[in-house]
């Protein structure tokens, strides 16, 4: 496990040119005006902060020392004026920062989401949903925070520091220089502590995710743990991670507390120095008391901004990872892309030009196709030829994980052949747009996916303009009407997140109905009835036979008994097609299919007998 951690850690150190800021151009540039305005306002706010001690100075030097209240009214008015200005500046700059943060992250979310809609499946196969999701939802937020709040903090505090130093230099440059000697010390200490904090915060996050997966394992693995009586072992191991968390977290707080303590200490040392030297000068009458007080005030508050600036810098460093990951996503190019000419004619994913689309009939031909997955190093198809005339029923069989989906992925153009061609209606699939092809395909998956919303909304997904009659007909065709009747609100029932409120079988039925409603020319059924009970499956089988007439279909079968009637059966093993033919031919060959079939058939029979 430790190995994984170190590689993860190493991956987190990235070096981008100019801290990756140029990469953010497209998202930051439209907000140039407001960002500059915010920075200017922060400048003003920082300057106003530097003015405050001067009021105290005036009160002491004028009112107290001279024992007069003659200028009290203008004093109050000026103070109020500045206060109102400050209030307005603070309000505007803070709401501008909020807007910048949200606008930048909104635009980045939009860009990444839209880009993801065009990426090919190899990207989704190589990156987990959780990983991609974080790019869209959390990287964008952190980058937004950097260009708003971190920028605000640094401008504000830097202005205050420069302003304070300037005023101090004007009042008494010798004393100011003395105080300034401490600043680099405080800065060095800050950098030292913050460096540790960056690393430690990373570790804390990493251990935190280990704890979450510890809980996950403790809960999902409960049955196994109990069976093995491994509760104590699991608890011990979990507690080990838990203790590591305790250690790392307290170590982190140690550095943070040391950091702040150091800043506080140096601040007071600055104050002490001012009182020591300044006291003498004041005693000698070379400096007024109010001026000494103001000077002390500046000295005391000079170190705190360093902490904020260092923190903003560390934000910049930590966000590098997010910028890098985000840019990598945006720079990933789709393996499957339509050429500019095709887009010109048929439109892209977001702007289809349906008026130019030809009808699709459903002839599919593999012509000398060789294929290797982009992340693989072995051909899974070599010089493969297969003609699938319109209306043919192709079945694909093989063990779980044998690579049955490869052919389907190629037909759907989710992947493209490494060499060779796939012809749709006699023309290379690449001569038409992806959307054209996809709009004519009905795809039903083993792990059916529904979207949050009602049953009806889900059914309409493939054909938004379908009438109620059409919906009902599709639902009837797959015998899903019983399922919908059972729900309390019928077609308007909520299906839950990802269809969570339904069983897998029910989801399969609905996604089946959804595909039928879309009235596609090519059907792809990927173990589409594996979780449906035998009786319903039989009903569907009959319906399908009727529905499939004239349509080309590719069926990945789970129960082999369901595909005996197929026009051609492709047998896949270890990612390669090893046998091909009708059921009878394959049985006669007594090869792999024969074995697979006899074994499965036996199990099937046991099931159907009971």
């Amino acid at each position: 496990m430790s190995e994984i951690e170190t590689t993860k850690e190493q991956q987190q150190y990235v070096s981008l040119k100019y801290f990756g800021i140029p990469k953010l151009g497209p998202y930051v540039k439209p907000l140039k005006g407001i960002i500059i305005s915010m920075a200017c306002l922060c400048l003003v706010a920082g300057l106003i902060d530097t003015l405050h001690p001067l009021f105290q100075q005036y009160a002491l030097n004028h009112f107290v020392e001279l024992s007069t209240l003659d200028t009290l009214v203008p004093f109050i008015l000026i103070y109020l004026g500045i206060l109102i200005l400050q209030t307005i500046v603070n309000m505007i700059s803070a709401s501008q920062a909020g807007k910048i943060e949200m606008d930048v992250s909104r635009d980045m979310r939009r860009a990444s989401f839209n880009h993801l809609q065009t990426l090919s499946f190899s990207y989704f196969n190589q990156n987990s949903v959780g990983y991609i999701h974080s790019r869209v939802m959390s990287d964008t937020g952190r980058i937004g925070g950097l260009v708003s709040w971190s920028l605000m903090d640094s401008v504000w505090n830097l202005t205050y520091m420069i302003g304070a130093i300037a005023v101090m230099l004007i009042i008494n440059w010798k004393m100011a220089l003395m105080v300034l000697v401490i600043v680099p010390l405080a800065a060095l200490a800050s950098v030292y502590f913050q460096k540790h904090l960056i690393t430690l915060n990373r570790q804390v996050r990493e251990i935190n995710s280990q704890i979450s997966s510890g809980f996950n394992e403790g809960i999902t693995g409960a049955k196994t743990t109990k069976t093995l009586v491994a509760e104590d072992r699991m608890e011990e191991d979990f507690n080990k991670t838990s203790r590591k968390m305790f250690k790392t977290a307290t170590r982190t707080s140690h550095f943070r507390a040391m950091f702040i303590s150091t800043i506080t200490f140096t601040s007071y040392i600055a104050l002490a120095l001012v009182l020591w030297r300044g006291g003498r000068i004041t005693l000698q009458g070379l400096m007024e008391l109010g001026t000494l007080a103001a000077f002390s005030n500046y000295a005391l508050n000079l170190m705190e901004p360093i902490r904020w600036i260092v923190r903003a810098i560390s934000d910049l460093i930590t966000v590098q990872v997010n910028i890098e990951r985000f840019t990598r996503l945006m720079e990933t190019e789709s393996d499957v892309a339509d050429s500019p000419e095709i887009i010109e004619k048929y439109g892209d994913a977001f702007h289809p030009k349906k008026e130019n689309w030809e009808p699709l009939f459903g002839d599919v031909e593999f012509k000398d196709v060789s294929f290797m997955y982009p992340d693989g190093d072995e051909y899974v198809l070599e010089h493969f030829n297969l003609k699938v005339p319109q209306g043919t029923n192709v079945a694909i069989v093989g063990e779980t994980g044998a690579g049955k989906s490869t052919l389907v992925n190629l037909v759907c153009r989710f992947f493209e052949p490494t060499s060779g061609q796939i012809l749709i209606d006699g023309r290379d699939a690449r001569e038409r747009s992806q959307l054209w092809l996809h709009s004519n395909i009905g795809y039903v998956l083993q792990t059916p996916h529904l979207f949050s919303g009602t049953v009806k909304e889900n059914l309409l997904y493939g054909k938004p303009d379908a009438t109620m009659e059409q919906i009902e007909a599709a639902v009837k065709a797959v015998s899903a009407d019983a399922v919908i009747e059972r729900m309390d609100k019928g077609y308007d029932s909520d299906v839950g997140e990802g269809g969570d409120l339904l069983s897998t079988g029910e989801k399969q039925l609905l996604s089946f109905a959804r595909a039928i409603l879309a009235d596609p020319r090519i059907f792809v059924l990927d173990e589409a009835t594996s979780s449906i009970d035998t009786v319903t499956e039989k009903l569907i089988q009959d319906a399908i036979e009727h529905l499939m007439k004239g349509r080309t279909s590719f069926v990945i079968a789970h129960r082999l008994s369901t595909i005996r009637q197929a026009d051609v059966i492709l047998v896949v093993k270890d990612g390669k097609i090893i046998e091909q033919g009708r059921h009878k031919d394959l049985m006669r060959m007594k090869g792999y299919y024969y074995n697979l079939y006899t074994r499965q058939y036996a199990e099937e029979t046991t099931r159907s007998l009971s």
């Binding site: 009021f55 007069t68 809980f215 009586v229 996604s511």
Partner: protein, 615 residues
Amino acid sequence: MKTNQPLFTKTSLVAHFLQGCKRFFILSILMSFLNTLMEMLIPQVIRRFVDSVIGDDPLNLPAFAEAWLARLAAPSSSQVYLRGHMYLVAILIGILALLVAFAFYGTHQSNAIAAEKLHKNIREELFAHIQKLPFAWHMKNKTGDIIQRCTSDAERVRIFIAEQMVSVVRIVIMMGLSLYFMFSMDWRLSLVAACAIPVIVGYSAFFHAKIGGSFEKCDENEGILSTIAQENLTGVRVVRAFGREEFERKRFEKQNVYYTGLWISLMKLMAVFWGIGDFISGLQVLLILVLGSVFCVRGTLSAGEFIAFLSYNMMLIWPVRQLGRVISEMSKAGVSLDRIMYIMNSPVEKDRDNAVSREETDKALKGDIVFENVNFGYEPDIPIVSDINLTIPAGSTFGILGSTGSGKSTLMHLLNRLYELPEENGKITIGGVDIADMKAEDLRRNIGMVLQEPFLFSRTISENISITNRNMTMEEIRKAAKIACVDEAIKEFKNGYDTVVGERGVTLSGGQKQRTAIARMLTSRAPVMVFDDSLSAVDAETDARIRHALSESLGDSTVILISHRITTLMQADQIMVLDKGRIVEMGTPDELLEKNGIYKKIYDMQLSLSEDETA
């Protein structure tokens, strides 16, 4: 824990979690007091410095300091001496600063230790409790929900106790001490300063109560946006296959813009809130400045006191501004505590009070397994198994044949008490001892069970195999792996037995998983072994090899084989055919063949299918 489990109330649960943390919290608060006090002494030093060292007022120090200074200063007066040795004041401030820094560190570090200990307690208690909860509880509750309770809710409780409650205490200390010093100098000015407290706290509490809902609304809408993205990514195949990219883009865009707008308007509100907060405190400072000047001019306040007063005022205003926010956020913790309490108050697995000893159980497990009139269903009215009567002689191999849902696995769940058989629903005995009288732990340790869909823990393969015994040698591990025919496959991995599997590592195929699970079970050398369709993902050849290797190493163990494969079942001494939860056939393989029932049909199909089908 074995007997009656006491139920927690909110207070007792918090007290339970606080074990071992309290002293750190107390230390933290003491340190915080010291920190604040030292910080507040510094303005006092400045005040005397201004009034008596630079000015001419009498020093007015505490008696011991006066005496010490007089001795140091002799023969001149203390005042004159200090004027010549101003560095002494600087040193004094330096010392105080050191104490401030030290106490600050102490405050934060002891608080961090307390907070982390508390968090550690919460998560370890939760984890341990969840491990002990019955399997039925696990089936009933959603994993995601439980994890949420264990992580975010636990975090919120930690924040409530270790951050919010502590900061209230700290704020009260700061307010109390600064008011004390202010009143000790000028009560009228202090009264004016204090008047701002209710205004600022009230303003901020009112505001936070008002917009608390807006924060929740933002969170909610972020959730919706996040779900849209999540569903789009998990459903990417559906999106593409239906060509609905444009629809998805619009859906995301709408929520993205809406959510962003919500936040921006909330930020604007917050900016106004901060601004007005700044304004109110600015006015208060102005009031003190003006009144202080007036008092100074009238002579009731000295310049040093004025300077010190202004410092205290700043120390007062800052915590007051925090207070309103903290109070309004504290109310959220109650719900989280309830959600954690739900887990902690769920009853754990229980053994009978008079459970038999471990030795007796170990001995009994070498005997016959007997099911007597067993009836069981997970839901009260839906029986899964009915009228099960059977005897599995010690050391024999017992086969079970039946379709999915016929109740095979349920019988095994009852056998190792993953589900408890209610007393009125029959009895299961092993070696004459009712399994309900044994300790669940002792019973399970003696029953090695391999599940159809085995779960491997996300650690190395060797750790997985040796999970029940940390001290297992590499030879033992490899021996088990060899019997399970998985040794070769493991060696093919780059890291061999040190390959990490599961969530964080490589994914094994179904067959590799099953075989690894068999190896894991074999290491326990249990007298009863159950194979619950555990070779379904292994091809027939390997199946035969494993069975051969197994039969050599099983020795005198009692073996229960659940399988669809006749060839596997054929070597059993006895076979039971289960249908819809009832025993329909039972006997030796030969007897069953003669009976001409289900077993015979399947036997014929599997072994003579070739002629039927190819004809």
